[in-house]
């Protein structure tokens, strides 16, 4: 069983979570061009190495961010989304 540390609920079986995609900032809703939106909606960095990504704890409906190495499958840390986005609007990719 693989354990993921939820910032709200503590260590849980990874089967309780759903992967939610890379953290990316949303284009400006009025000024964003079509290609910016295509990039945001469909294209992926899909890096091998350290990435920041969204995860959802399904049972509690809680979204958070994990830093994970996609080569070794090690999760380095998890934290609530208000840290990187404090003061700004939501910029989440799901």
């Amino acid at each position: 069983m693989k354990i993921l540390h939820c910032p709200l609920n503590g260590p849980r079986n990874i089967q309780e979570f759903v992967y939610g995609g890379e953290v990316a900032s949303m284009p400006d809703q009025d000024a964003g061009s079509d290609s910016e939106w295509t990039d945001y909606v469909f294209l992926e960095d899909n890096r091998a190495g350290l990435v920041r990504e969204w995860w959802l704890h399904v049972a509690s409906g809680y979204w958070f961010i994990a830093e994970r190495d996609t080569s070794s499958d090690k999760v380095l840390r998890t934290y609530p989304p208000d840290q990187p986005f404090a003061g700004g609007g939501p910029a989440r990719k799901s």
Binding site: K2, Q15, D39, N46, R47, D73
Partner: protein, 413 residues
Amino acid sequence: MPFGLLKYGFAKQYPARGLLPQATELKPRYDVVIIGAGGHGLAAAYYLAKLHDITNVAVLDKGYLGGGNTARNTAIIRANYLTPEGVAFYCESMALWAGLSEEFGLNIQYSTRGHLTLAHTDSALRTARWRAEVNQHLGVDSELIGPDEINRLCPSLNMSRATRYPILGALYHRPGATARHDAVAWGFAEGAARHGVEVHQHTEVTGINVRSGRVTGVKTSRGPVECNIVLQAVAGSSSLVAAMAGLKLPIRTIPLQACVSVPMKPFLDPIIVSGSLHVYIWQTARGELVMGGATDPYPLYGTRSTLDFKEGLMAHILELFPFLAEARVNRQWAGMADMTPDFSPVMGLTPIENYYVDAGWGTWGFKATPIAGFTMAECVAGTRQPQLIRPFRFDRFDEFEQVGEKGAASVGH
């Protein structure tokens, strides 16, 4: 062919057949460099040389020939897709498959088995009927069958109504087949080499040179190579290689696990798939059961196997074939599947001039090997997108013209 076979059978000696010429030094310049010596890349090289007379071609691979996803798939070939674009494409592929053994002079063990996609719910029945209608319209042999016919085709299948997901019907695709995956790669490699194509194994591409929007060559672990055209065919590493050229793809790389059982006596003729139960299973000529399911729940560049996956898979296999409870798993492995948002590939021209991709092959790439090579060769030789793969073009996402194949490709690879 039969006489040749007979003669071969009675021969006194069977000298080893060297399929590829000895490796040479890299030339400083090629017309076309193909990155990835798997089935797709080698097929593209083969058809470039054979049909388009482009023979100054190098196929480079950081590992060995056919050692990536060509060796890791579960070798199922079918054309019973959902969208007209997908059905037409895979149908052409099957036409090529059927003639490959003859064309190569190498037995690729193409074996027509029949393919059953089981339906356990009303909605699955509806999708099966939908696929059957689209398939028949395009001349592909698929039909919706009921429990009696399923039982006749596969008597060992548990047809009891007293299971959690009783079998209500199935999409029966008569031409569904399997083939020996290594043989396909080697057949294409040998054919390409015979036409003068160079296959360089253990030659890693470490960079791609692009000058004012146009590709000019590649850097490799054995030195730089100039070229007019680059084609990448690197399932499992598509995003990483494309990133070297400055391209971002609509791909998430997610492991797909599979396993085989110990060999047992033949009991399973058709290929059995259940989308609702997330399993597929078929029996090889040497008696092993090949088993797999859906992809892992999140992206990873790794090929580890997990117990979670195995437990879920086996629970469902035992619903279909309860008598396998004592059977043992012999081998397990995973491949890295380049999943696209619409479960269709990304093929052809890119925003970079003379840079071509054959990517996004997720869990559906093996069956497309010949036609992907055929159409990519046509694309490279003609510098335009052939009609058959126009729906799979890179910029379909800009135009919101996705080809949604999830219903036919997510589990029944």
